[in-house]
């Protein structure tokens, strides 16, 4: 029995080696450069919008950054709806996932996808299938960090 499971483990290991040898690899360098360029472009656009609201419109820095988020989320949702954002994502990878626009894309995409299953159990239930984990662990860790900060201040 033991030799049987040992043989199987060996077989699996051998096959994994064969697959690794023959499988095409992702082009890491190209991916990193594209992600940097597109991600940088999105962030530069965000900075431009912030400066516009902060200095031209005289919003103040806090309100300007909120207005920037609103603009970027709107743009991303619009591009997702027009079927453009997935093409940007195909090109840029993490470059368009990491900024706030990627988060908006991950909410709008399921909203569009599950519209046919109805507004309640379709859109309502599936809206956060992708963004949900980010929200759960983002908010969860902010609570923990907040508690640590609170006790550090008390002490």
């Amino acid at each position: 029995m033991e030799t049987k499971s040992h043989n199987r483990a060996q077989q699996i290991e051998r096959y994994a080696g064969l697959v690794a040898r023959l499988a095409p690899k992702s082009d890491m360098a190209k991916g990193v450069v594209r992600a940097f360029l597109v991600g940088g472009l999105i962030c530069t656009l965000g900075q431009g919008i912030t400066d516009f609201f902060a200095y031209k419109m005289e919003f103040g820095t806090q309100a300007a950054s909120t207005a920037t988020s609103i603009c970027l989320i709107f743009l991303s949702a619009l591009l997702t709806g027009l079927g453009v954002y997935d093409r940007i994502g195909k090109f840029a990878g993490a470059g368009s996932i990491v900024p706030i626009t990627g988060f908006a894309n991950s909410v709008v995409a399921p909203a569009m996808e599950f519209r046919r299953e109805g507004l309640v159990m379709g859109v309502g239930a599936k809206l956060f299938t992708l963004a949900g984990p980010v929200l759960v662990y983002g908010i969860g860790s902010s609570v923990i960090v907040g508690l640590i900060a609170f006790f550090m201040e008390v002490m």
């Binding site: 064969l18 697959v19 023959l22 499988a23 954002y85 195909k90 709008v108 569009m112």
Partner: protein, 344 residues
């Protein structure tokens, strides 16, 4: 007299025949190297329906109707429909059978469904349990993406080993008894595959998950029948893709089988051209089904191919098993097909 040969193969001595076949594919598939050979193209991925799922089953239904009309028959002449697809509870097949009103057995073998249905259909025809039956299957890129992966509009990159689910459907009408006498392409053997799993857990690497099963079924067919690559014009696999095909060649060589690479035709490698950017090639039930109906069966009927071993491969995973970290079991079922000269 037993029709069994060896451990996994049955012989079909009455030679059930292929009466007719039909294929329908989507726009992207029609732009591939075999684009001109499909019977019908669906330009709109919604296929005039209100959901992708409805589009898929309408395509299956149309393929069956087209196949029946190409044979010059009526739906009511068909005694059995053997069909399946990739969607949960094989809804495309079940719903299509509802409209077609043909007695129906639903099958699930993931992407191996077309050769599974041809195997079982061949046995039913050979056993005298059906004179006229249809084997059919389908897949749709958009329904498969929804079920197995992520929403369509999500901006993610596909991995280099990922395959592109074919939007397509194929239907093959088989005949037994007297009706088979006029057929130029006949079934001679069927080999039932074992489910194999060599520990691949990456759901974006189906080719690697299925290659061991394909290797095992080919080896079993050769051992059971005493045949080898020399006896076939082509060995046609379903949707191993580029990596899966390379792995199959390597695995067969490890078993001591000499592989003439030009005889190994993988529908997943052939259906799209490299510039279509599908990464490792096509996949899905509709890949093998539409390709044999558009290319392999016509070549057999015409006598350009004399003997073919056709095995579609299936990855028997679900989104639940993937999330639970389970490895992916693969299966492959083979049927041997021959050209039969008129009057022979």
């Amino acid at each position: 007299m037993s029709k069994r040969m060896g451990a996994q193969t049955v012989s079909l001595p009455s030679r059930p025949g292929v009466l007719a076949f039909a294929s329908i594919v989507g726009q992207k598939e029609s732009e591939g190297p075999y684009g001109g050979k499909f019977d019908r193209i669906i330009e709109d991925e919604m296929n005039g329906q209100k959901s992708f799922e409805a589009a898929e089953r309408a395509m299956l239904e149309d393929a069956v109707r087209l196949c029946v009309s190409k044979a010059g028959r009526q739906l009511s002449d068909v005694q059995l429909l053997l069909a399946g697809d990739l969607l949960n509870q094989i809804i495309s097949a079940g719903f299509a059978a509802r409209s077609l009103a043909i007695p129906f057995y639903g099958l699930y073998g993931a992407c191996s469904t077309i050769s599974e249905s041809l195997s079982i259909g061949g046995m039913l025809a050979d056993g005298g349990f059906a004179d006229v039956l249809v084997c059919a299957t389908c897949s749709h890129f958009c329904t498969a993406e929804r079920q197995y992966r992520t929403p369509l509009e999500l901006g993610t990159q596909r991995t280099p080993t990922a395959q592109w689910t074919v939007t397509g459907s194929g239907a093959v009408m088989l005949a037994g008894g007297a009706a088979a006498k006029s057929c130029a392409a006949v079934l001679t053997h069927a080999t039932c595959g074992k489910v194999l799993d060599l520990g691949i857990t990456d759901a974006n690497n189906m080719g690697a998950a299925m290659a061991p099963a394909a290797c095992d079924t080919i080896a079993a067919h050769f051992a059971d029948t005493g045949r080898g690559f020399d006896d076939f014009d082509l060995v046609v696999t379903g949707d191993l893709g580029h990596l899966g095909r390379d792995l199959l060649i390597e695995l067969l060589r490890e078993k001591g089988v000499k592989v003439p690479e030009e005889k190994l035709f993988d529908c997943g490698c052939e259906i799209f051209s490299p510039r279509q950017d599908t990464h490792s090639g096509g996949s899905g039930c509709g890949c093998a089904a539409s390709m044999i109906c558009a290319h392999i069966l016509p070549e057999l009927e015409a006598g350009h191919l004399n003997r073919v071993l056709f095995l579609a491969t299936g990855a028997l995973l679900s989104p639940t098993t993937t999330m639970q970290g389970e490895s992916i079991p693969g299966v492959a079922h083979a049927v041997a097909l021959e050209h039969r000269k008129a009057g022979a």
